[in-house]
Each structure stands twice: as structure tokens, then as C-alpha cells.
Symmetry: C2
């Protein structure tokens, strides 16, 4: 695997994994007041489009990262609507 | 410009723009307690690597989106450390 792809996978892993501590924090604290609902909605739509872009551009790191990020953002959206 | 690139730019615009309401909210409320510091740090590093990936892969949407996102995340990190 070439260096570019490896950097892409590490980048994707980091931006994806980054939402895990946020999900854990929101889940544990049952507090999401400081999270912007607009951010979560725009980000979710954007991540869906990134997935489409990744599929069409044939970029596996982009696809993998964005599918998982989408799921984590959906969980955050759920928690945001749950704990207003 | 072909459809794939357009989708990429819209995706990049959305995931980038999404941080603006979050920055505005943190700025106005002076409250960042519910934001995860780990998320911001991991996301910032990830976005930097995405920029490198975009440069090497020759993907303009990836480069443009991630450079601007990086700046917005830096502002959020600053606000997070300011308003603990």
C-alpha cells in the first residue's frame, strides 16, 4: 500500500475516532446543550455526500471514514434531541 | 467541472460550514463544557492529515475543505480552553 493511501487511512481513522469521545461524553453526562444542532445536521449531510464522492472518486479511505462517521453523528444527533 | 468534483465541493462546503454554527454558539454562550477536548484534538490532527492526503492525491475539494475546517477547529479549541 502506498504512502498516500496510508496517510488517507490514518486521517480517516482520526477524524472518525474523534467523535467517539464526544459520543461517550454526551452519553455519560446526559448533557448536549453546548453542541450545535445546526453543526450536527450540516455535518451529517456533508458526510453522506463525502461518501458519495468517495465512491465515485474510487477513494477507499474517504468511503470508510465517512460511513463510520455518519453512524457516530447519527448517535450524537439522537443524544442531542434526547438531552436538550 | 464534472459531477464527482461538484459533489466533492458541496460535501466539503457542508462539513466545513457545519463548524461555523458551533463556533458562533461557543463564542456567544461562552460555554464549551459539553464539547469533548479529545474530539477537538483528534479532529484537528486528522484534518491536517486529510490536507496532506488531498495534496498528494491531487484532490482539490479535500484540500480546500480541510484547510478551512482546520482553522475553525483551532478557534473551537481556543474557545474550549478559554471557557472550561
Amino acid at each position: 500500500m502506498d504512502t498516500v493511501l496510508i496517510i488517507g487511512y490514518i486521517a480517516g481513522a482520526l477524524t472518525t475516532i474523534s467523535f467517539i469521545p464526544q459520543v461517550v461524553k454526551a452519553w455519560k453526562m446526559k448533557e448536549t446543550r453546548d453542541l450545535s444542532l445546526a453543526m450536527l445536521v450540516l455535518f451529517a449531510i456533508g458526510v453522506l455526500l463525502w461518501t458519495l464522492y468517495g465512491i465515485w472518486a474510487g477513494s477507499l479511505p474517504v468511503i470508510a471514514a465517512n460511513v463510520i462517521t455518519f453512524v457516530l453523528i447519527l448517535v450524537l444527533l439522537f443524544l442531542k434531541l434526547q438531552y436538550k
